[in-house]
Every structure is written in C-alpha cells, then in structure tokens.
C-alpha cells in the first residue's frame, strides 16, 4: 500500500486521447457529430470526415456483431449497443480521476464513470431526467481525504412535490454511489432546472 493522495498522471501521449493531423482531438470530433452540431470545419477537413466515418462504421459493426450472435435473442441488442458505445465515449472523454476508497489506497475512478452512475441513479426516481452532473473535490488543510461533492441538475415532473422528489433523488444517488462505486460523498446539491409536463415525463428505470 502506498500513501499517494495525488491523482495519477493524465493521459499519456500514446494514450487514447488521439489528436488528428488537423489539430482537433478525436473526442471533440466525435462529440460534435453525436450532438449533430453544424461544424463548418468538418465539411472541409478530410481527417475529421474520416474520423466521423470511422465512428459510423464502429456503431454499425457493433450492431451487426450483436445481431449475428447465436444468442442474440436472449439480449436487447439496442441496449447492449448503447452500453458498448458508452464505454467507448468514456474512454475518449474520461474527465478527472476521483479518489475511490481510503486516501492511502491509491484507487481512483474517472469522473465520467462516476457521473454516469449518479445520473442513472437519479433517473430511477419516477419522472426525473438527469442533466449536468459535476463532481468537485476540495482539499482542506490537515485533512488527508478530500471532500467530494456532487452537483446534479434534474428536470422534475411538474406535478411532483419537489422537496420530496429531491430527497428521493438524493437517497437514490447516495445508495448508488456507496453501493455501486464505494465512493464517500460529503454532500449532494440537487438543482431542479426545469419542470416537465406529464406528456414529457420519462418512465421509471429508463434504460441508459
């Protein structure tokens, strides 16, 4: 066991944070494509167009792979495809390392993976849609373990009692962060940023 409490070094030059010859990162190009944002650079850049084509081929290949499997009928191919693509995205945009377990254990989890767990937990509460999730670290003098706080934005059903709903979300997130990750939180700040009409409300236990 070591006493290292600083995050591990970030991505290496030979890591997955690939830089295209035009100077853009692969993650940035894929991100713009997924958000379907107008991108004038992409139209004129051979490298970016290739990167986007590559992502499309990857998605198609994953779907075909699932469909060709002899046991495909036992699984939801669409859900599996989403899960695999989620992992690909997390590898490209991992965020910062956050401490996991005790301070002297030198165990970490990438922010994007932890945030995904937080959002999924919030959406187990009926009618809730999770939005932006920020996880912050605060190091206090004389205290080895940093304080970890979650700031989560949600859209809530207009018909729900908001105080109770926020409390349900808080409990669900705390349970998931402890049970699924094993991370100790100092606090959770939940901000309701929009109210949804009944027609817009998502169902319970949305498959992400």
């Amino acid at each position: 066991m070591t006493a290292r409490t600083d995050p591990p070094r970030p991505s290496q030059p030979d890591g997955d944070d690939e830089l295209l010859p035009c100077g853009r990162s692969l993650a940035e190009v894929w991100d713009l494509r997924e958000q379907e944002k107008h991108d004038p650079h992409l139209e004129g850049c051979l490298h970016c167009r290739r990167a986007v084509d590559e992502l499309a081929v990857l998605e198609t290949s994953v779907r075909r792979l699932r469909e060709q499997s002899s046991t495909a009928e036992a699984y939801d191919a669409r859900a599996l495809t989403h899960r695999i693509m989620d992992v690909v995205r997390l590898e490209l945009r991992p965020g910062r390392p956050l401490p996991l377990g005790e301070p002297d254990e030198d165990l970490w989890i990438m922010e994007s993976a932890a945030a995904r767990t937080v959002r999924a937990a919030a959406e187990t509460v009926r009618g809730v849609r999770a939005g932006s999730c920020r996880i912050t670290l605060e190091r206090l003098p004389g205290r080895e373990a940093p304080l970890i706080d979650v700031r989560l934005e949600i859209h809530a059903p207009a018909s729900a009692p908001l105080q109770d709903l926020a409390e349900q979300v808080r409990r669900s997130v705390l349970t998931a962060v402890d049970g699924t990750l094993g991370m100790v939180l100092n606090g959770i700040d939940i901000r309701i940023t929009d109210l949804l009409d009944a027609a817009d409300e998502p169902g319970e236990g949305t498959d992400r």
Binding site: P8, Q12, D14, V87, E91, L92, E105, L107, I109, M110
Partner: protein, 112 residues
C-alpha cells in the same frame, strides 16, 4: 522473462479478478484498429497497463499503473482493491527477491 512477458503476466492476473471486464482501451482502440486494418500488436494491452521500475539493479520499486473497466454488477472499489491485490501477488511471484513494496495505482475508467 522479458518486459513484455512481465506485462502479459500482470495483465492476466488483472483480467482474472472478479468484476474486471477488460483493461481500459479494450473496446475503442481494438475495434478501431481492427476496422482500420492497422492493429498494433501489444499496444492495446500496454496502454491499459504500465509498468516501470525505479532504482535499477533489479531491486528497485515497481511502479504499476492499471486502468480497468468494471462489470456493472460489481462494486467498483472492491474490484479496484482486488486488482491491486492481484498485481501485488503477481509481482511477488515473479520477483521474490524484491523486498521494496510496489507502488500500484488502479483507476476505474468505466462501468459496463
């Protein structure tokens, strides 16, 4: 046993830990390389597992950095602890003469 064989051995130990799905770059890099037809042997595995030794002379401290993706049904911190224990045990087995404790960093980069 050379450096690549050491990494192979430690990688096997990590993949044997309950709850570990794969070493970090498994999906993206491997599939992209396969699609492009430009697979680089060993690059995928080496990116998710880095080993170096400080001090030299075969007695220095091992510095091991492991990036893993964890299966959804497992608890991330438990898998990370299991991974560190597996790496430490593997190093003890491969280098019984080394007394300096290894510095092992485990990072969970994703959950399946």
């Amino acid at each position: 046993m050379n450096g690549t064989a050491h990494i192979d051995e430690v990688a096997r130990a990590v993949l044997g830990v309950e709850g570990v799905a794969f070493l970090k770059p498994g999906v993206a890099q491997q599939v992209r390389s396969a699609l492009a037809g430009t697979g680089r042997a060993g690059a995928t595995r080496a990116s998710g597992l880095r080993m170096s030794r400080s001090g030299g002379g075969g007695e220095g401290t091992w510095d091991v950095d492991v990036h893993i993706v964890v299966l959804g049904e497992a608890r991330a911190v438990d898998v990370a602890r299991g991974t560190r224990a597996a790496v430490a045990e593997c190093l003890r087995r491969m280098f019984p003469e080394t007394t300096a404790p290894a510095r092992i960093t485990v990072t969970v980069t994703g959950l399946l």
